[in-house]
C-alpha cells in the first residue's frame, strides 16, 4: 500500500518540490547578495568604528528588512498551504471522484490505506515545512548577526526552530480531517485555511505566554538607565517617563512590565516634575537625572529568560504534534469499519435522470 500511496502522491510531491526549489533558488541568490552586503557593511563600520549601530543603517535602506518580515510571515503560511494542498485533497478527492469505492475494495483495509497515505504525505509535509524554515533562517542570518543583542526570543519569531515541524504536521492533519469529514476538496481547503489561521494567530496570544511560568524581577532605576531613557520630560507639572528597556536580562522575552513606581507605591506620573520641568540644557538634564534617581523608582517585569527558548520550542512543537495525533486518531475512528463510525459514502447525486424501469433497448 505504501508504494501505491507514493504513486498517488507523486504529482503533488513534484509540484511541492518544484515550488520549494524555486523558493530555494531565489533565497540562495538574494541570500548571497545579503551576505555580501553584510560583509561590506562590516568592513565600512570597522573603519569608522561604529559597528554597534551598523544594523540601523545597513539593511533597512536596501529593503532587506521588509523582505525578512515577509519571509517570516511566509514560514507560517507554508504549513497552511501544505494543509490545503496536500492534506485536504488526500481523502476528499477520493470521495469526489468516487475512487474510494475502487481503492477500498482492493485487498487492503481502509485503515491500512489511510495509514500509508498519512505516512507518505505526512512525512513530506513535515520535511517541506522544516526545510522552508531552514532556508529562511539561513537567508536572514546576516540580519540577525547585525542586530545588536539578537536572540530568536526577542524577535518573537517562533518559526525559527523546530516548531514549524509541529505547524506543518498540524496543518496537514487538519487538512486530512477536514477532507474526510467534508468530502469535497474546495470546502475542505477553505476550512483548513480558516482553522489553521485562527490557531496560528490565537496560539501566541492565549497559549504561548502560559506554557512556562514566567520569571519576575524588580529593579531600581539606575543613573545609567535613566541616561539611556528615550523620553524624559514634564507634563502638566508632573514627571513624564518612558521606561525604555525594562529590567529584564538581555535576550529575554518580556511578557509584561509595570509602571515606574516609588518604593511606597506612587506612580511616576504623580511626582512633581522638579528640575525636569525646566527648559532643556545640559545642566538641567543632569539635575533632572539626579532628581529621578533620588526618587528610587522601581519597575517589575515578568519575562522568559533567553535560556528557555528551546524549552518553549519543544513544548510548542509537542502541543502541535499532539493536536495532529488527535486529529489523525479522529480520522482513523471515522474510517474504520464498525458501528461506531460511519465511513459511508453518500449516494452519488443522480447522474442521469432515472426512468423507473426501462424495457430493453
Amino acid at each position: 500500500m505504501i508504494r501505491f500511496a507514493w504513486t498517488r502522491f507523486r504529482t503533488q510531491a513534484a509540484v511541492g518540490a518544484g515550488v520549494l526549489a524555486i523558493a530555494g533558488a531565489v533565497l540562495l541568490v538574494t541570500g548571497i547578495q545579503l551576505d555580501h552586503a553584510y560583509y561590506a557593511a562590516v568592513a565600512v563600520c570597522k573603519q569608522q568604528g561604529n559597528c554597534a549601530h551598523m544594523f540601523t543603517y545597513t539593511f533597512p535602506s536596501q529593503g532587506y528588512l521588509d523582505a525578512d518580515n515577509e519571509l517570516n510571515a511566509l514560514t507560517l503560511a507554508v504549513p497552511g498551504l501544505i494543509g490545503m494542498f496536500w492534506g485536504a485533497p488526500l481523502a476528499a478527492r477520493e470521495f469526489e471522484t468516487g475512487t474510494c469505492r475502487l481503492v477500498w475494495t482492493q485487498g487492503v483495509t481502509r485503515v491500512r490505506w489511510l495509514a500509508a497515505k498519512l505516512a507518505i504525505a505526512g512525512a513530506a509535509a513535515i520535511a517541506a515545512g522544516e526545510l522552508f524554515t531552514l532556508m529562511v533562517n539561513w537567508w536572514s542570518s546576516p540580519i540577525h548577526k547585525a542586530e545588536p543583542g539578537y536572540t530568536p526570543f526577542t524577535s518573537g519569531s517562533f518559526h525559527t526552530g523546530v516548531a514549524p515541524v509541529g505547524y506543518a504536521a498540524f496543518a496537514f492533519a487538519l487538512g486530512v480531517t477536514a477532507g474526510l469529514l467534508i468530502r469535497h476538496t474546495l470546502p475542505a481547503m477553505a476550512v483548513t485555511l480558516a482553522i489553521f489561521t485562527a490557531v496560528i494567530i490565537a496560539f501566541p496570544i492565549w497559549v504561548r505566554p502560559h506554557l512556562i511560568q514566567p520569571a519576575r524581577a524588580t529593579s531600581t532605576l539606575s543613573l545609567a538607565s535613566i541616561a539611556n531613557m528615550p523620553g524624559v520630560g514634564a507634563f502638566n507639572g508632573h514627571l513624564s517617563l518612558a521606561p525604555g528597556s525594562p529590567a529584564a536580562p538581555p535576550g529575554a522575552w518580556v511578557i509584561s512590565s509595570s509602571q515606574l513606581t516609588t518604593p511606597d507605591g506612587r506612580a511616576s506620573s504623580s511626582e512633581p516634575a522638579g528640575p525636569c520641568g525646566a527648559p532643556p540644557s545640559p545642566a538641567t538634564a543632569r539635575a533632572c537625572n539626579d532628581y529621578i534617581e533620588s526618587l528610587h523608582f522601581r519597575q517589575t517585569v515578568t519575562y522568559e529568560p533567553a535560556s528557555r527558548y528551546w524549552a518553549f520550542q519543544w513544548t510548542e512543537t509537542a502541543i502541535y504534534l499532539a493536536l495532529s495525533f488527535l486529529l489523525t486518531g479522529l480520522c482513523f475512528r471515522r474510517i474504520r469499519p464498525g458501528r461506531s463510525a460511519e465511513p459511508g459514502i453518500r449516494r452519488p447525486r443522480a447522474i442521469r435522470p432515472g426512468p423507473a424501469l426501462e424495457r430493453s433497448p
Binding site: 500500500m1 501505491f4 475502487l102 475494495t105 485487498g107 481502509r110 460511519e342 424495457r359
Partner: protein
C-alpha cells in the same frame, strides 16, 4: 444451500429515509444473481453494504462467511465494480494494473494483461480518456484479476451502449464459466438480467419483493384469463400478483406451486420481464414483503 451473502434484518438509512429496510436474504454460491428493481430501490445500497463500503443501520450482513471489509483476506475474495466504474483519471491503464498487483495478494497479472490487450486498450493511455465502455471493462478487469470468489457488479452496463453492453456481458459469462465465480449483478434492465442471471432478486422501495431461481420462478408464475369472479374463491395456495378486469373477463398473474387444473382458466406462461414488472408495479404491503421473506428463506 451455500450462501455467498447472508443478510438478516439488514437496513440502511440516509437521513430519515430507509434506502434498505429489513432485508433478509441468502444469495446462493456458484450462481449469477440478478438484483433488479427501479432506481432508488436500494440495489446499490445493498451491494455497497456487501462490499463493506457502507455500514448497516440495522441487522447484519455476512459475505463469504465473514463481515465485509474487515480483513485484507476477505477484501481479496470479493471483487467489486462500483456504479459508473470509477477509476483514477490521471493514472494510466498500466498504472491501474500495477495498483491491482500491489494491493491484492491473489493478483493474476497474466490474466489482467491478456484481457487488457484483448480489449485493445493501450497500457499507457490515461484512464480519464477511456470511453465509458472501456472504463467499465478496465474496472471489471481489476475486479476479476484479483481472483475473487464473489463478484459484485453495481449497474455495470447502465452507462454502456447496446454493443458494449453485449460485449461486457459476454465477457462476464466467459469469466464465470472459466473461474466458477459467484456473481451478483444489479440492473434496472430486465433484459440484461434475463440474458445472464439464473437467480433473481427483486427489490422495490428498499424491500425484497421476490427472490428465487429464475427457472423456478417462471415455472410457478402463470398468466390466467377467464370469467370474472370473486378473488376470494380462488384456491388458498394462489398468490395473486396482478389482476386486471375487463367486462366479464379477468386476467391474473398468479404464483402457485400447484398446477392450475380449473378448466375455466386459460393458462399462459409469463415472461421474466412481465413477472418482474408485475412485482415492481404493485404497491408494497407488509403481507407481501412477509411472503417474499418466506420465499427467500426456503
Amino acid at each position: 444451500m451455500n450462501a455467498v451473502i447472508e443478510a438478516s434484518g439488514l437496513g440502511k438509512r440516509y437521513g430519515r429515509r430507509w434506502a434498505l429496510a429489513d432485508c433478509t436474504l441468502a444469495v446462493p454460491a456458484g450462481r449469477v444473481t440478478g438484483l433488479v428493481g427501479p432506481n432508488g430501490a436500494g440495489k446499490s445500497t445493498l451491494l455497497q453494504l456487501a462490499a463493506g463500503l457502507l455500514e448497516p443501520d440495522s441487522g447484519g450482513i455476512r459475505v463469504l462467511d465473514e463481515p465485509p471489509a474487515r480483513t485484507p483476506a476477505q477484501l481479496g475474495r470479493v471483487g467489486f465494480l462500483a456504479q459508473d466504474a470509477p477509476v483514477y483519471a490521471g493514472l494510466s491503464v498500466a498504472g491501474h494494473l500495477r495498483m491491482g498487483a500491489l494491493l491484492n495478494h491473489g493478483w493474476d497479472a497474466e490474466f489482467a494483461e491478456r484481457r487488457i490487450s484483448r480489449l485493445g486498450l493501450h497500457l499507457r493511455q490515461r484512464a480519464g480518456s477511456l470511453s465509458g465502455g472501456q472504463r467499465a471493462q478496465l474496472a471489471l478487469t481489476l475486479a476479476v484479476a484479483k481472483r475473487p470468489g464473489l463478484l459484485l457488479l453495481d449497474e455495470p452496463v447502465a452507462s454502456l451502449d447496446p454493443v458494449a453492453r453485449r460485449e461486457f456481458l459476454r465477457d462476464l459469462m466467459e469469466i464465470v464459466a472459466e473461474h466458477g465465480t459467484s456473481v451478483v449483478l444489479s440492473s434496472h434492465l430486465i433484459t440484461d438480467i434475463e440474458r445472464v442471471c439464473d437467480y433473481l432478486i427483486v427489490l422495490t422501495a428498499g424491500r425484497v419483493r421476490l427472490a428465487g431461481e429464475t427457472e423456478e420462478l417462471l415455472a410457478t408464475h402463470h398468466r390466467l384469463s377467464g370469467p370474472r369472479r370473486d378473488l376470494r374463491t380462488l384456491p388458498a395456495s394462489w398468490e395473486v400478483i396482478e389482476e386486471s378486469h375487463a367486462g366479464k373477463q379477468s386476467t391474473l398473474l398468479v404464483r402457485t406451486d400447484d398446477p392450475v387444473l380449473d378448466p375455466a382458466w386459460t393458462v399462459r406462461p409469463v415472461s421474466l420481464e412481465d413477472m418482474v414488472l408485475a412485482y415492481m408495479s404493485q404497491p408494497g404491503d407488509a403481507a407481501r414483503a412477509g411472503r417474499a421473506g418466506l420465499e427467500i428463506a426456503s
